[in-house]
Amino acid sequence: MIRTPLRPLARILPARAKGENPDAIERENIRLRHEVMRDKSRRRAEGRLLVLGATFVCAFGVIGLRMGVLAQTEPAEPRTSAAGADILAQRADIVDRQGRILATNFDTHSLYAQPQQMIEPERAAKGLVKIFPELTEERLLRDFTGKRKFLWIKRKISPEQMQAVHDIGEPGLLFGPREMRLYPNGTLAAHVLGGAGFGREGVHAAEVIGVAGIEKYYDDRLRDPAQNSQPLTLSLDLSVQAAVERVLRGGMNIMNAKGAAAVLMDVHTGEVLSIASLPDFDPNDRPRPLVQGNAADSPLFNRAVQGVYELGSTFKIFATAQAMELGLVSSGTIIDTSGPMRVGGFTIGEFNRKNYGKISVSDVIVHSSNRGTGRIALQIGAERQQEFLKSLGFFKPVDFEMIEASGGQPLLPKRWTELSTVTISYGHGLSSSPLHLAAGYAAIANGGRYVRPTLLKQDAPQEGLRVMSDEIAREARLMLRKVVTEGTASMGEVPGYAVGGKTGTADKPKESGGGYYEDKVIATFASMFPADDPKYVLIVTLDEPVETSGDKPRRTAGWTAVPISSEIVARVAPLLGLRPTIEHTPLADITQVSLQDGD
């Protein structure tokens, strides 16, 4: 660019000649130059503002358009997702400790009708009754021809039934997909699993919700989509549970009992390997709860968890163990069990009015002496007895993974009198569930720690609260072993496995209150095996058993619960992989001779 000089000679010289000030020319030129510069920078600034404005308009325009498009279009699933394949079903499976299925899901269909689309309602009703005999034709016809626009006919139908309905050819009969809960093992572990039903229902899907048992307790976990692909692993063992239920059912029939319950528990981990209550039900087709009468008569009632009973002499070992722990007695201390013994105005008697005289503490357990235990309990006192039983969990429902467990609140005396102390020491006046008793016996079996029973598979033993010393627990186990070898549970001996345990026969209290039945008992056998180093505790309880093979009907636990228990141990211990202790038979034709010095 050619700049105009500020003082061009061509103008300055004539101006000088005229006597004008040449500076005026310079100033004029500077002004002009500044004007040019100003105009130039304004144009540039205007251009920049324009570009900036256009950019903003474009950017906001694009955003606005995109928002409009997003608002207008139909939502679409993302097409590629690796997560989609993981979701198997609405509800996670339940498996036993070895991964065998206890509860799974099954795809099936529901059947519903839209009567306004029907062409021949009469024919449809007739056809449906032929396929589902439990439906009534008049009712269906009334529904089909009435004002209803929609009705459910069946919640779940099988593929064959679906095909049959399809063959009716009625356009008003429609199918919706349904996921149903399937319990392939039928009645096995029915009370644990509980059952499932439909929650909120739509045509295309329905919620599957747990209605009882562990299905209800872990409903949120089982329905959580994040944990859907991992099954819930229980501590139960399918084959052990099957064996226990079979033996228990057979035993219940032989002993003419109204009901029976069994709990098999690992004493170190607290895992419940088998828990059974009879009579039972099929969780695939859960019966309705009784609307009248005693809830305990329903097959839905879980005797092992919900049923609280006075468990009788099985409690004696607790009083004895506590007295030894407190240093009041040792297993050899002689106790006077002779009568009469009156506490709080009541006479304490022995079974069959026997009198054992002066015997050792160990024999008090072996012969199951009420007076002996009562006298030991009086030495302990009510206060300390309550504390001990509380530490064994007998004061509150067991914290167990079943919704029904909270119903197993033990019944305690309102006032813990001296008489209560004595009667509770031999298991009367305090009602608890067999599961409570299992936890109590587990504490003796594992060397003095309370373990919480659990239905979930555990990896490690529980480090429970110590309730008695290892030494005392060992002595208590020796006494329990003696009960089987020389005491009331002589039928409890199982070849190959040393069993220790305590029988308990308690008269049933009358429902109307006031006294006990003469001829109705709860027979219990609480045992542990192998007795030298117990791994499992087994509780068997029979409701109103009577054994009629002899001249007189026999109701004591030694004749009823014990044989069943020993049969269960004989069946279950090999399944659990317990190595039997084999008595070595002397080899034939070999005589041991010893060579003595001098011979």
Partner: protein
């Protein structure tokens, strides 16, 4: 020179456009394929679930017991008992088999008798 540059740029644009479309179609193909596979996986998993349920149903303890009862004549299956546990010293040793290789009548195929005798001499 300039027109050459324009032609070259146009070719590059065409090439890039072709590549972009090609990749786009390839991606769509891959997505379709993945969807098909996911569908197949879903069906297979559903089938697996049904088969698992059926397997569990067919292996339910009641049925197995009934089968064992029906076939008792042939199989003589009984519940596991304590007597069936054995000790390790009750198990026989396997019969002793002579594991040494038989070298009698072998034929020497080496063509270096010196080497053979040489190694033998060394030892």
């Amino acid at each position: 020179m300039r027109s050459l540059f324009y032609i070259f740029s146009a070719l590059v644009v065409i090439g890039l456009a072709y590549w972009a479309y090609y990749e786009n179609y390839r991606t769509q193909d891959a997505i379709n394929h993945a969807e098909r596979l996911e569908g197949q996986i879903a069906t297979s998993r559903q089938r697996l679930r049904v088969l698992n349920a059926e397997w569990a149903y067919l292996n339910r303890p009641t049925r197995l017991r009934e089968l064992a009862d029906i076939n008792f004549d042939r199989l003589r299956l009984m519940p596991l008992e304590a007597q069936q546990f054995g000790r390790i010293d009750e198990v026989d040793y396997p019969p002793e088999v002579d594991l040494r290789l038989d070298f009698s009548g072998s034929v020497s195929i080496t063509n270096q008798p010196d080497l053979q005798s040489g190694t033998g001499a060394d030892q």
